[in-house]
């Protein structure tokens, strides 16, 4: 026997699928952007920039779908929270996509065959891996409605934050080297983008907790100074 409001449930599931798919797109973009940074691959960077259209398109689709669902179906209770969360998440996805584009745009600027600093490069690569895994974990938390997984993201985000600070200090250290210092500045910007991606995954985690518990709590993320961060 068909469940009541069958069409509504289908529509809601489809919206969620699109959001999860958007997260997959972001993961792909992060991978390519990081590869472009590591190997100074300008062509790959151009592809990342072009592919952001897909993420923007996804954003519009989901946004429209949500408006339509709100107008036609008057969702309440859990359904309403899911819809609100999906709207928030697709915005985070769009922003993460933009951060990937920013990273990609920095690749040609940082120059071909420029001398690189191993310490910074390793940290950047590590940050990229963390960002990727955080997005993946956020995706799993959302799909599985997993509160523990969501709360764990905060811990991982602190790692990204630490790496970001580290890169900054190292870039200052190599600042005396005329050949390295421009490259160092660009790497600071790349690190900043990755750190922003991390913040967005924490936002998504907050939404997952909201859907599951009906309560909205700010989680300590990299942008909140440790002293004033509320305990979760």
């Amino acid at each position: 026997m068909q469940e009541t409001r069958h069409q509504f449930r289908e529509d809601l599931k489809e919206l969620e699928r699109q959001v999860l798919g958007g997260l997959d797109l972001v993961i792909g973009q992060i991978d390519r952007a990081m590869e472009a940074v590591s190997y100074q691959d300008v062509e790959l960077a151009a592809i990342v920039v072009a592919d952001d259209d897909r993420i923007d398109g996804r954003y519009l689709e989901v946004h429209q779908g949500i408006l339509s669902l709100l107008a036609r179906q008057s969702p309440v209770a859990t359904d309403l929270r899911i819809v609100a969360a999906l709207l928030h998440c697709i915005r985070c996805i769009e922003r993460m996509g933009d951060q990937c584009v920013n990273i990609a745009k920095l690749v040609p600027l940082s120059g071909h065959d420029a001398p690189k600093d191993k310490e910074i490069l390793d940290s950047i690569e590590r940050m990229g891996q963390l960002a990727r895994s955080q997005v993946s974990q956020a995706r799993d938390a959302l799909q599985g409605r997993n509160v523990e997984l969501a709360q764990d993201l905060v811990r991982q985000d602190q790692e990204i934050n630490r790496l970001n600070r580290g890169i900054f200090k190292r870039a200052v250290e190599i600042g005396d080297d005329v050949e390295l210092r421009e490259w160092g500045m660009f790497m600071i910007l790349v690190a900043r983008c990755l750190e922003r991606i991390g913040d967005n995954t924490v936002d998504i985690a907050e939404q997952v907790v909201f859907v599951c518990t009906g309560l909205f709590r700010e989680m300590a993320d990299a942008s909140t100074p440790p002293e004033t961060a509320r305990s979760t």
Binding site: E3, T4, R5, F8, S74, P75, V76, A77, T78, D79, L80, R81, G214
Partner: protein
């Protein structure tokens, strides 16, 4: 009879009231609200039966003063029955009875010392289908609760005028107060019934799906009126339309199989209900 016709004469030849009457409800017409006159209804251990059928099981609820409380739930859950126990209409049905206490402020309406018709004057009721008296004019309809209870006097026309102003009907009917009550549209008839109810100056108003027989525009007008009315009366509204409950009620009660499952502020019931059954009902997983 002669008092009626002379009242009507004075009605039609009198000066028009100088406040402009729009179509919106004007509760100010009823005068200022005396301080601290909210009335609470408290239901304690209520059971209700139709013959051997135990329809309402041990209900405990408080209806706060000057608030609108909505009662929602699937068909047959007992919401209408419970509400009819509050003004003792339930016992008018053959073989039906109720047990328990219903306190209006501090007085139990089921107490043997209490006169049942006085209970119903203090606790008014508006029904699903508008039911103005067909043989009476608009004026007589509004006055009927007073006249047929033996109230006489000069200020009958004033009271009718005030009630019609309060429900926002005055502008629409002031030139045809003598025409039959049933000549109005559905929405107007329902507001006429509300005017008839408030003419008796109740403390609580019960509404049993008051908008189900009305078109969407009339429904919104009645909802607007309910919102105004709560400043003066405690209102309980039974509705099977969840959006309506969400729009008008301060708090919502969800009933299932003769019992109260959840009673919470409306916002909570519709964004984050505590009980799984409430969640399933409001999201339409059953109904």
């Amino acid at each position: 009879m002669s008092t009626q016709s002379s009242e009507r004469e004075r009605m039609t030849t009198s000066r028009e009231p100088d406040i402009s009457e729009g179509e919106t409800p004007d509760l100010q017409a009823l005068g200022d609200i005396p301080q601290g006159t909210g009335h609470t209804v408290q239901v304690e251990n209520l059971h209700a039966y139709y013959g051997a059928n135990h329809a309402i099981k041990n209900i405990n609820l408080t209806f706060r003063a000057n608030e609108v409380t909505a009662i929602i739930g699937p068909s047959g859950c007992g919401k209408s029955t419970m509400v009819r126990c509050i003004n003792r209409m339930h016992e008018e049905i053959p073989y039906a009875r109720a047990e328990g206490r219903v306190l209006l402020d501090d007085e139990d309406v089921y107490s043997p010392k209490v006169d049942v018709t006085a209970v119903r004057r203090a606790i008014g009721m508006v029904f699903q289908r508008p039911n103005p008296f067909p043989t009476m004019s608009i004026f007589d309809n509004v006055a009927s609760g007073l006249r047929l209870a033996g109230v006489r006097g000069e200020n009958m026309r004033e009271r009718v005028h005030r009630s019609l102003r309060a429900v926002g009907l005055w502008g629409e009917v002031k030139n045809r107060l003598n025409s039959p009550g049933i000549g109005l549209s559905g929405g107007q008839q329902q507001r006429l019934c509300i005017a008839r109810t408030i003419a008796v100056e109740p403390e609580v108003i019960l509404m049993d799906e008051p908008c189900s027989a009305l078109d969407p525009v009339a429904t919104l007008k009645v909802e607007e009126l309910i919102d105004e009315l709560k400043a003066r009366y405690t209102i309980v509204i039974v509705t099977h339309n969840m959006q309506q409950a969400a729009r008008v009620a301060n708090s919502t009660v969800f009933m299932l199989d003769g019992e109260v499952v959840e009673h919470a502020p409306t916002n909570d019931v519709f964004t984050n209900p505590r009980d799984e059954r409430t969640e399933r009902y409001v999201t339409g997983k059953f109904g």
